[in-house]
């Protein structure tokens, strides 16, 4: 009664893989499989046939293509693991390849090495701070990871303070570790965030949108009032304008951007500009 058949071979429905290139910018769902450019010629879209050069092809693609969030390599294809729009960025040289990722609107943050985030100090223990970054476990931040900090003069950080920092260690096996200095020991913008101003949360999708180069939302917001603003990849935004009122308005606009089409947004800004 017990026969050994690998799953894949007895899955007719599963193989309707589309070419990654053709679905760029479209909504993809978990479970979909995407073909990488170099497989397209070897086997036409959809047919999962025998390919002598597969491993070789696999090797090549492995060298070129990087799987961003929401994608995983399965065999020589990409498996979609999150729902959202498929994005692609050319790697400096290679024509195809580069980085593929899924742009989803999730709220929960998972630390990624190099990300800049806003954290809340929850505890001091020994020579480290515990910082809540909205991930599954608090990040650790060393007393010495501040500009000009030494064993003698420790930075003045209280529990409850906001920290703008960067992850130096972030992988699934380790407790994340952040610092407030860059490679050459400079703060450049990182460190404790001012005592007033307002902190609020938006989806990670929106943050990515806002941090995208030449994002017009930012420009428009900038036109409204003079302001200080900090974006954390973990979906936290800290904003401060001259008055409470202005700060509130800014915060509400940015939150609203979540579900506004460009036109709607334009109108709002227009209205505010008048008032």
């Amino acid at each position: 009664m017990a026969e050994t058949l690998p799953v894949a071979s007895e899955s007719p429905a599963g193989c309707k893989a589309r070419a990654a290139r053709n679905v760029l910018g479209q909504v993809v769902l978990p479970g979909e499989e995407l073909l990488l450019p170099e497989q397209e010629e070897t086997d036409g879209v959809g047919v999962a046939g025998e390919r002598p050069l597969r491993l070789n092809a696999g090797m090549r693609s492995r060298l070129r293509v990087v799987c961003g969030p929401g994608l995983r390599r399965c065999g020589d294809r990409l498996l979609v693991t999150k729902c959202g729009r498929l994005r692609h960025k050319e790697s400096g040289s290679g024509s195809s390849g580069g980085i593929y990722w899924v742009d989803s609107q999730q709220k929960r943050y998972v630390p990624v090495k190099g990300d800049h985030v806003i954290g809340i100090v929850t505890a001091k223990s020994g020579d480290i701070f515990k910082v809540d970054v909205g991930g599954s476990e608090p990040a650790s931040l060393s007393y010495l990871a501040f500009e000009g900090a030494t064993k003698r003069n420790r930075p003045n950080v209280q529990v409850g303070d906001l920290i703008y920092g960067q992850f130096v260690v972030a992988n699934k096996d380790m407790e994340p570790e952040m610092v407030c200095i860059d490679s050459c020991g400079r703060a450049n913008g990182m460190g404790v965030i001012g005592q007033d101003g307002l902190l609020f949360k938006v989806t990670l999708g929106l943050i990515r949108k806002l941090l995208a180069p030449d994002c017009e939302i930012i420009q428009e917001v900038g036109k409204l009032y003079p302001l200080e603003i900090v974006f954390g990849m973990n979906g936290r935004i800290w904003v401060k304008a001259k008055t409470i009122q202005q700060t509130l308005i800014l915060a509400n606009i940015l939150e609203a951007c979540e579900h506004m089409t460009t036109e709607q947004r334009k109108q709002i800004f227009a209205r505010l500009a008048e008032s």
Partner: protein
């Protein structure tokens, strides 16, 4: 052919102290040696000295990790300061329910302790040979060390899930992807893992 084995049970009086010296699995009381286990009696005497009387159980008699014991454990979680492990074996006897242990950063290596980085020494899932240095107090777990050449990682899997082969005292390599990963590698690569 061996003489018929004598089985004895806890509390059984074996002999008085003149006839033998108490070995494992026994205790003495009022000048007599009593058995404290259910097992079979063995007398062994080196060069005419008093025979050592002890009671043996073939099945695992050792129940607990003890200070100085070599234990086999599995890394459960790590952070920059220490690695948490589950102790699976004491010596060669498996534990029915695993005990938790901790390998602190400073106990990973014998030399250059300050240069040690935990995540360059262990990863969750690794199988590690270690030695018990203390039972820890009420709160903390067993404290373990790998600061010996013979101690450290004996089995580790690469990202692609393949068992890696050690290539130096601090590196292992995945035979499939040929990627190298850092580990605190134990010198003896125990054969038992290739059954």
């Amino acid at each position: 052919m061996v003489p018929p084995v004598r089985y004895c049970i806890p509390g059984e009086r074996l002999c008085n102290l003149e006839e033998g010296s108490p070995g494992s699995g026994t205790y003495t009381r009022h000048g007599y040696i009593f058995s404290s286990l259910a097992g079979c009696l063995t007398k062994r005497s080196e060069n005419g000295a008093l025979p050592v009387v002890s009671v043996m159980r073939e099945t695992e008699s050792q129940l607990l990790p003890d200070v100085g014991a070599i234990v086999t454990c599995k890394v459960s979680s790590i952070n920059s300061r220490f690695a948490k492990v589950h102790i699976l074996y004491v010596g060669s006897t498996p534990l029915k329910n695993s005990f938790r242990g901790t390998i602190r950063k400073e106990d990973v290596r014998a030399t250059e302790k300050d240069k040690v980085e935990i995540y360059k020494s262990f990863r969750p899932g690794d199988i590690v040979l270690a030695k018990v240095i203390s039972l820890g107090d009420a709160q903390s777990n067993y404290l373990l060390t790998t600061a010996e050449n013979e101690l450290g990682v004996v089995v580790a899997h690469s990202e692609s899930g393949v068992q890696m082969v050690p290539i130096s005292w601090c590196e292992m390599q995945c035979p499939k992807t040929h990627t190298k990963e850092f580990r605190k590698v134990a010198r003896v690569q125990p054969e038992f893992l290739q059954t």
